[in-house]
Amino acid sequence: MKARVKTTTSTPVVIDGAAGEGGGQILRTSLALSLVTGRAFRMVNIRAKRAKPGLLRQHLTAVRAAVEISDAACDGAEIGSGELVFRPEAVRAGDYHFAIGTAGSTTLVLQTILPGLALASGPSQIVLEGGTHNPLAPPFDYLAHTFLPIFNRFGPTVEATLVRAGFYPAGGGQIEVKITPTDRLRAVELLTRGTDSGRRVVAHVAGVPANAAERAFEQADKRLRWGRGVCEIIEHPTERGQGFVLVGEVASEGHTEVFTSFGERGLRAEAVADRMVEQVRSYLAGGLPAGEHMADQFLLPMALSGGGAFRTAGLSPHARTNMDVIQAFLSVRFQVTELKNGGVEVRVPCGN
């Protein structure tokens, strides 16, 4: 995407919503950057080539949250809308409560508003209700163990607590997030995986047969040889439906990656474990620290900090689209270098 950077902050940044991958990701990144920079944006051709074009409910939940924390003026925030204009005021720190249906995800809404609140003038407390373990969004475990520890290295202090799990499709989960902001973000480097510092397999279960988790553990152990001692079952109340989520954690010095697999009707517990194991193996084989999603999430705080770098096995189309959107808002240029042993390094040169 060739985005135009306007010289005056009063003219909105124009973002092409049909470009690249993931209309939803483009929107969330744009909202987050608009909240941080105070620059308005106009997004056109929103999901133009999709079967159901225009904004969907999950996008509107993110827009609404962004409007609420910044008193933004917003035009086109309707289902099916192909164009959105967003003009924020200063972000207000404070206590917020967002109820999000299963059509959206608590973690995605948090990603939208977090950078703005992490750079606000005071602390915030956020309660998010809705899905916490949704197959199409990062689950709470990823937020708590992978994303927030890295994000905190940029300067702010953010803690997330799972009050209640919300599985798809029933939702009804709850997350509490405490944010202590920082004045400006520091440059962070994530270049090596460091020494191993632990392995874990967690099964979140609600209303599924007890032996399902055991069978999944058995299968994971058979293939990863991490031992049964690292396995843990976390049981959740069943009144809001069933849930079965298997999480594999690979902790290294300074960074933990989380890999998730979701139980589905008709899918054997062993197959659920296999899906998690494949992701873990692929990550370990690459030897590089940032997983696919981490690479995606690292870009925005790195660009805001004006420096830093990370290494990953490869950039997904999502990540590349994200880079384009960020470069449309900020006068930074990402430097992408192919590494000799495979993988890439993405860097924001200092003084850029």
Binding site: K52, R57, A170, E239
Partner: protein, 544 residues
């Protein structure tokens, strides 16, 4: 989508919406699914349920709050008693609709028809169709078998607008059907007269939408009878009539037998009534009765007909039990029925009854732009009857049309005149072409006919008559069918123009004689004349 708040009205599904404990999320529940779609934001759900299902309604409300916090759920207790009783369910739902304050300016409504008994679904449909529920229908359906569950838990939905004109393909289909109906009523002739085309459109509309009587007014030969038959065929094609087309000219119903012909009689009702006779009204039961020249109907018959129209029953002659017949009536007239009413010759109440849809069929002289398409139609018809095509050179055709559209052409018997003219010209056409010679002869015949017999009917063309009368006696001429009349007149004309039987034969059989092994034209002509009791001298003999 508009920015109006979306409000769904629906019944709690006592079967489909049920489910207990965690397992309830395993099955697709239509009411919950309404609020799970990523591209459908239900602002409010009006959930109607029986008091006995309050617990279920509460569960559904909780679950919807979880999946869709944007949705407000309002519960309404509606008592059906028997949810399969149409009257009861309709009444309860209609009461709900009446009591509900619809805010059309700020909200738009969807009526969910997937839940509830079939009776309830039908009632919701009817209430929506009649705009008692001013919205569109929404139908939900479970996820397809092979869809990944985490992508399609909510299944599908479709919104149905009962305003059919909003659907391009349906509207196009209606337009096509109507166009076909119009073409059909016009006998496939692409008529150009705007007033006539407008009238046909009205007739089509009335024919399809109404069972009331129609009255066709117009001069003789304007096509009343043909149009009545076309209306019948159109309605039968649309399954609106199951019976037959029955046609009678009231001018032919005279004296004692008139009532019996129309209404039937029972055996022994009068001298000569040896058998029961059903009568034309009963023959037309569930069909269409065309009464032409209705002004000629006698006073008694008028009274009986009125009763038959109003009560669908009448008393056959001599019967003491009423007969029933439910028919559609089309009446035809060439006379001023209002004048007849003023003179006391026609019943005012009967006129009022048949005068609801009155159409005045213009004569051919008032539709000069339609002569050309009708000429083509008649030529095609003649070709079908003769078994060979008859052509008309461009200049001949132009000359005929010039004459036909001029003030000189009276067309006093309208389409009958045109039909007769084309029949004569095609019969006389040698080598399959209507020549200038044939045309000028025909124009002469038409002129003479209109001069000598103004307003004559049914091929009683003066010229033709004179020819026939000169060869046959009056009784013999009167016994001829129109078909034979036209043909025989033409044959006699050729005979008069020929010196010998052989020459006349050669001319008359010019086309087919070449195909025969032996050219026995004279013999063929002689045999033809003999059928009418004519000999060569008789046919050849010129009138004094």
């Amino acid at each position: 989508m508009s920015s109006k708040k979306l409000v769904v009205l629906g019944l709690l599904g006592t079967q489909l919406d049920t489910g207990k404990h965690a397992h309830r999320w395993k099955s697709w529940r239509p009411t919950v699914s309404l609020c799970q779609h990523d591209d459908l934001l239900v602002g409010r759900l009006e959930l109607l349920h029986d008091r006995r299902y309050t617990g279920l309604a509460e569960t559904i409300t909780t679950d919807i709050t979880g999946v869709s916090p944007e949705t407000e759920v309002r519960r309404h207790v509606v008592e059906f008693g028997d949810p399969w009783d149409f009257e009861e369910v309709y009444g309860a739902l209609a009461d709900f609709a009446r009591g509900y304050s619809f805010d059309m300016e700020n909200e738009e409504y969807l009526v969910h028809i997937t839940t509830g008994t079939h009776v309830a679904q039908i009632c919701l449909f009817l209430l929506t169709e009649s705009r008692h529920l001013p919205g569109r229908l929404i139908q939900t359906s479970p996820p397809r078998e092979r869809q990944p569950r985490h992508l399609a838990e909510a299944g599908q939905y479709s919104i149905i607008d009962l305003d059919l004109s909003r659907y391009d393909r349906i509207a196009a289909r209606f337009a096509q059907e109507q166009k076909e109906a119009l073409t059909f009523l016009k006998n496939g002739i692409a008529t150009r007269n705007a007033a006539f085309n407008r009238m046909i459109e009205e007739i089509e509309h009335v024919a399809v939408a109404s069972r009331e009587p129609m009255l066709f007014m117009g001069p003789t030969g304007a096509g009343k009878s043909s149009l009545a038959r076309k209306v019948f065929e159109l309605k039968r094609g649309r399954h609106q009539l199951a019976g037959q087309f029955v046609e009678v000219n009231c001018a032919t119903l005279r004296g004692d037998t008139a009532a019996s012909t129309l209404f039937g009689h029972v055996r022994g009702a009068f001298t000569g009534a040896q058998r029961d006779r059903p009568g034309l009204l009963r023959s037309a039961d569930s069909g269409l009765l065309f009464l032409d020249e209705i002004g000629e109907l006698g006073a008694d018959e008028q009274a009986m007909l009125l009763r038959a129209l109003e009560e669908k029953r009448f008393l056959p002659v001599g019967a003491d039990q009423e007969a029933k017949s439910d028919f559609q009536l089309i009446a035809g007239t060439n006379s001023d029925l209002s004048g007849a009413v003023a003179k006391g010759e026609f019943r005012e109440d009967l006129l009022a009854r048949i005068n609801l849809w009155t159409f005045v069929l213009p004569g051919l002289a008032q539709r000069t732009e339609d002569i050309a398409p009708n000429l083509d139609h008649e030529l095609e018809n003649a070709a079908r009857l003769l078994g060979r095509r008859v052509g008309m050179a461009k200049d001949v055709r132009a000359a005929f049309l010039d004459f036909a559209r001029s003030g000189e052409a009276k067309w006093s018997a309208n389409f009958r005149d045109l039909n007769a003219a084309v029949t004569r010209m095609t019969t006389l056409a040698r080598g399959g072409r209507i020549t200038h010679e044939v045309l000028s002869g025909e124009l002469g015949r038409l002129r003479t006919g209109w001069k000598t017999a103004p307003g004559t009917v049914v091929g009683e063309n003066g010229d033709e008559n004179a020819l026939l009368m000169s060869a046959l006696d009056a009784e013999g001429a009167a016994a001829l069918d129109l078909f034979d009349r036209a043909q025989l007149a033409c044959v006699i004309r050729v005979c008069r123009d020929s010196k010998s039987l052989s020459e006349a034969g050669r001319r008359l059989f010019a086309v087919t004689r070449g195909k025969r092994k032996t050219a026995n034209d004279a013999d063929r002509l002689r045999k033809y004349l003999t059928r009418f009791g004519l000999t060569w001298p008789c046919a050849n003999h010129s009138p004094p």
